[in-house]
Amino acid sequence: MMICRIIALVVVACSVAGCASAPSPGELDRRAIAVMQSSFRDQGIAKVDRLHQDLGQQACSGASPPPADTVKRIEAEALASIRWPAGGRYLGDWREGEKLAQNGRGMTWTDASASPKDNGASCYNCHQIDKKEISFGTIGPSLWNYGKQHGVKDPTDPASAAIVQYTWGKLWNSKAYAACSNMPRFGHMGLLDENQLRHLMALLLDPASPVNQ
């Protein structure tokens, strides 16, 4: 580790002064990592260890997607990581879900704690959900009428099991269905707890939720 650091520093010095010959793409990759490691510091709950990438983060750090076999591996590992809800209870209270969806806070260096109870789900940042909220993002697809569009009349009906389970899985670890999804892994990364996820499930799938009117 120590040796790596020293090499990194030498490399940065070289990169800043400009080297005689143009470095190779692989060499630039290494220098970029060294720049990342030297440019950040701990602040509050946001420590530099957040820059340690897992396989998926590393593979999805390019302008183009990773090779097909890597995609397959990331998705398979993510799918296997999903923890299904205790007692098979998938749905909570859509009202609580709406509050979480509106709340974009959590996990930044200005947040006091990384505990799920202090985190929002940031859904409206990227998705349309309840149509009444006009301030929504478009990075993800619209979720207006999500349950209705999927024909969910009773979420406990076995006929709805597939979409209910998919939705839980997507919230728990979005990478199970798209290796480089822009969506955070809310369950897998400990951002939200099971009950919070149930509330979001209800917002999307409960026939009584304003989303499905």
């Binding site: 990169s15 400009g18 998926g56 349309q128 697809p141």
Partner: protein, 266 residues
């Protein structure tokens, strides 16, 4: 398992239907932004920056009027649209704010490292923002054209590109998560695509900008700092290589874009 895959495919095919009602909201926001353009408080910071530029200050009791921002000592007009660039005297690629700190150190005798460690909006760091606003305003209407002739400048572009796509942290975010595609929004805010040329050059060409939401003037360093905060990353150092490399990447991609800095933003 099979059921899951079928459902996943269905969800992927199923696209949002309700974007219609948005048109009027977007028009309303456009109208609001237009109304704000008449009287941008950034002018207050521009005036303050101009006074600071000319004032004899610091341990050496000197002004910044002979500061070389890349176009020769004392040349302010046109400097902004060519930054970040390589400077031989510091042997570094520098953005506007880090170059201003170098000038404050070399000409006025300030402690550059101490300024870099000062929180945004305080003490000399606040003055750096005002100075950056003044320098940027002198290039309003000019078009971005960052130099890429020095090897260090070309290398910083390549590193900046990799920093831009670097995905990490508890939310798996990279700069590219929000700024890698055309026509996206967070909430109601349009997200400029900063990944290519031509792209939304105006995303780079608007900062320093006056932030309506908190009444603060933000330079590019603070803009990037708060992007990284929202990205749930650790804290980027002021004028660190990662932030300067991003400046080169975005600035080169903004080639040809007209500078509207200092702008007014949400």
């Amino acid at each position: 398992m099979n059921k899951l895959i079928v459902a996943a495919a269905g969800a992927l095919l199923w696209v949002g239907v309700a974007a219609q009602a948005q048109k009027s909201a977007a028009d309303g926001i456009a109208e609001y932004r237009k109304m704000l353009e008449d009287g941008n408080p950034a002018e207050l910071f521009e005036a303050k920056g101009e006074a600071l530029w000319k004032q004899k200050r610091g341990p050496k009791n000197a002004s910044l009027e002979s500061c070389d921002l890349g176009k020769g000592p004392g040349v302010v007009k046109g400097a902004f649209v060519e930054l970040p660039r390589y400077f031989a005297d510091t042997d570094r690629v520098q953005d506007l704010e880090s170059r201003l700190v170098s000038c404050m150190q070399m000409l006025q005798g300030f402690d550059g490292a101490a300024i870099a460690n000062t929180p945004f909006g305080r003490g000399e760091q606040d003055n750096v923002t005002a100075l950056a606003t003044f320098v940027a305003a002198a290039s309003r209407g000019l078009h971005f054209d960052l130099p890429q002739s020095h090897p260090a400048e070309r290398q910083m572009y390549e590193i900046g590109k990799r920093v831009f796509y670097f995905r990490g942290g508890p939310y798996d975010f990279a700069c590219a998560s929000c700024h890698g595609e055309d026509g996206k929004r967070i909430r109601l805010q349009d997200l400029p695509n900063l990944s290519k040329n031509p792209g939304d050059g105006v995303g780079f060409a608007s900062w320093p900008a006056y932030r309506v939401s908190n009444g603060q003037m933000w330079g590019m360093q603070l803009r990037l700092n708060d992007c990284y905060r929202q990205q749930r990353f650790p804290y980027p150092g002021f004028s660190s290589d990662a932030t300067v490399a991003l400046g080169v990447f975005m600035g080169v991609n903004a080639k040809g874009a007209e500078s509207i800095a200092p702008a007014i933003k949400r």
